[in-house]
């Protein structure tokens, strides 16, 4: 059994809201509220949820791009990275990298691809200066771009190609964990499949571990070994991929799966489970269970008490009163 590479416990991230008056009491959006999960080496954990559920914030918090609240714990290789100082953080970021959704925004338009890749190597002190060009060319080769691209600028490339460059840049420091924050959402389906295949190949070749954040359940099912479903800053259900998709226990997971338009009509033309309304504002989440305002199974207890995490089937965790 491989060990946990990343272990997150009771992760909380609050964003303060300024309402203009310096003397008024500060309020917070509780973007992530007590999230816990672990990822084993070589695994892919898929993190799914609708917009505003806190999945991206979770990804950023792991790299401390946003600072979690006191009391949160993030263990990477058994060390709590929230206790790291600046110097140790730089070292840590050699092992953990992130890929963002928008490949247009994540590359400097005024730097050639060669400069972009060499900069990463220089910052992290990888290789000798005169060898870096060669290393950069090698990285491009790994992600399937010709080395002639080194002297070209980001605007000369399509979205898919840019995402390849971003992946190359993440690989430059030979990380162990890559946080993929919606890496294929901005791409067309045919290109999306290319990037997914590339990520899978790289994972096999370099024994990478992924935290794969996406709103697309089909993509998550394809790429993940384990899946966590988030809603308004909480994880509702977490299980291995096949278990979660074949036997969803939480009503939200079920509704989410039912809502996806499918190409093959395997199920009968049953009346599908439609959720009412929208996701409530994270500024004032419902008391008790956060899903109760849209839940078809709602009862009085849901407003009074927040359901704890249960494990009805070994390895399958769910937070609902009625499981």
């Amino acid at each position: 059994m491989s060990k946990d590479l990343l272990k997150v416990e009771d992760l909380r991230v609050y964003y303060p809201i300024k309402d203009g008056f310096p003397w008024s009491r500060s309020r917070y959006i509780k973007a992530v509220e007590g999230v816990a999960f672990e990822i084993k080496e070589g695994e892919t954990l898929g993190l799914v949820g609708e917009s505003g559920c806190g999945k991206s914030t979770t990804g950023r918090a792991i790299l401390r791009l946003v600072e979690p609240q006191k009391g949160s714990k993030i263990f990477f290789e058994d060390q709590n990275i929230l206790e790291y100082d600046k110097r140790k953080m730089i070292h840590f970021r050699k092992k953990v990298q992130i890929i963002f959704q928008d490949p247009y925004g994540s590359l400097n338009p005024r730097m050639t691809l060669g400069d972009t890749l060499e900069e990463v190597l220089a910052v992290h002190g990888k290789g000798q200066p005169h060898e870096r060009r060669k290393q950069a060319a090698k990285l491009l080769d790994v992600v399937g771009l010709p080395k002639q691209c080194l002297s070209r600028y980001p605007h000369e490339f399509s979205g898919g190609q840019r995402q390849r460059v971003v992946i190359a840049r993440a690989l430059a420091v030979e990380p162990k964990l890559i946080i993929c924050d919606e890496p294929v959402s901005a791409l067309d389906v045919s290109v999306q499949a290319q990037i997914i295949n590339l990520l899978e190949e790289l994972q096999r070749e370099y024994k990478l571990t992924y935290l794969f954040i996406s709103h697309d359940m089909a993509v998550v099912r394809h790429i993940s070994t384990k899946v966590a479903v988030m809603y308004l800053g909480k994880i509702f259900e977490i299980a291995t991929t096949d278990e979660l998709f074949d036997n969803p226990l939480h009503p939200y997971t079920r509704a989410l799966l039912a809502a996806i338009p499918k190409i093959t009509d395997k199920r009968k033309k049953e009346k599908r489970m439609l959720l009412e309304g929208d996701v409530p504002s994270p500024l004032s989440p419902p008391t008790g269970c956060r899903f109760r305002t849209r839940c078809p199974l709602v009862e009085d207890i849901c407003a009074e008490r927040e359901p704890g995490i249960k494990e009805p089937i070994p390895g399958h965790f769910v937070a609902c009163h009625f499981v």
């Binding site: 389906v189 045919s190 290109v191 499949a193 997914i196 089909a218 338009p261 190409i263 199920r267 929208d278």
Partner: protein, 324 residues
């Protein structure tokens, strides 16, 4: 046999950018029958939105221009109409819903006055009656508390609610044709499911024909009767939804279906289409898909015509060979 409400023949919309001529839509043709839903599917840059804007005659000119073809709406060619006549058709007999509901609603007017505007303009009702009708429309589109919404501004509503308002506005004058350009792309899946369900429901009630543009084949399966697959400004395949999704003929349609991960059933490897969508001015002759096609042959230097196979149309030489 029902008659088509909209028939597009040989439509060509080009963009003139300096010395470059970009054929964004090139010889596109299809028809939509009364009460039917036609889905147009394609990747970005395939010309699906330009087709929709051409039908509404909303192509910005310059740089764009409709250089040829016919758009027959109820038998009359929209391309021959004056701007004055078009204005009477838009929002009345043909209406349109866009992807981004925030940018298509006016932020400084209340929801009620925006819906009522179309009703007053096209049906000549008084403001009071128009507002009453707006309320009914919102109720029909399952907007909660319709009376309260009339006096609210778009920023007070959620994304799904705004799209419902857009639909209410589009249906205000009982259009014969509704053009929906990626109406659910910006929404979360649970809200998307609500909107799709609503649109199907309303179509059953009103009998409006729908031209539904999307890049999502799953959405097509939910809503369309017929499908047009576009690639680089061309129609590559066109037919009944079941036929196209179950047994695609064109290599591009096949490639698209093989690129999508399945949500139910065992995992199968993704077989993406290689390369990237070429920009429309890169390909001057021959089959547009040949740079990415796995079955490319010498013949592809010449562009294949749309060929009839049973009751579908396919633009590929392979199919032509099978025929012989």
């Amino acid at each position: 046999m029902s008659t088509p409400v909209l028939e597009v023949n040989n439509l060509k919309t080009y963009f003139f950018l300096g010395e470059n001529v970009i054929p964004a839509v090139d010889s596109v043709g299809f028809s939509v029958n009364y009460g039917e839903t036609l889905g147009i599917v394609g990747e970005s840059g395939s010309g699906k939105s330009v087709t929709a804007l051409s039908i509404m005659r909303l192509i910005p000119n310059p740089p764009g221009k409709i250089v040829g073809g016919q758009i027959l709406f109820e038998g009359e060619d929209l391309l021959q109409k004056t701007e004055e006549e078009m204005r009477k058709i838009r929002g009345n007999k043909i209406s349109m819903i866009f992807q981004e509901p925030m940018t298509s609603l006016n932020p400084v007017y209340t929801v009620g006055s925006q819906i009522a505007e179309a009703i007053i303009l096209h049906q000549g009702l008084s403001k009071k009656d128009a507002l009453k009708k707006s309320e009914q429309l919102l109720e029909m589109c399952k907007v909660s508390l319709p009376k309260k919404r009339l006096n609210q501004y778009p920023h007070e509503l959620s994304g799904g609610m705004r799209q419902r308002v857009m639909i209410a506005m589009a249906l205000a004058c009982d259009p014969l044709l509704l053009i929906a350009d990626e109406p659910t792309t910006a929404l979360d899946v649970t809200v998307q499911a609500q909107i799709l369900e609503l649109m199907k429901d309303l179509q059953r009630k009103t009998g409006t024909a729908v031209l539904f543009i999307t890049h999502d084949l799953g959405v097509i399966n939910e809503i369309a009767d017929k499908v047009v697959v576009m690639y680089c400004g061309r129609v590559v395949e066109c037919g009944k939804k079941e036929d196209i999704l179950k047994s695609p003929e064109h290599p591009y349609t096949k490639g698209l279906l093989n690129s999508i991960p399945v949500i139910d059933g065992p995992k199968k490897p993704l077989r993406p289409i290689r390369g990237v969508v070429p920009s429309p001015n890169e390909i001057s002759h021959g089959c547009r898909f040949r740079s990415r096609c796995d079955y490319v042959m010498d013949k592809c230097e010449k562009e294949p015509p749309l060929m009839n196979i049973g009751d579908r149309l396919v633009r590929c030489w392979l199919v032509h060979n099978f025929e012989k």
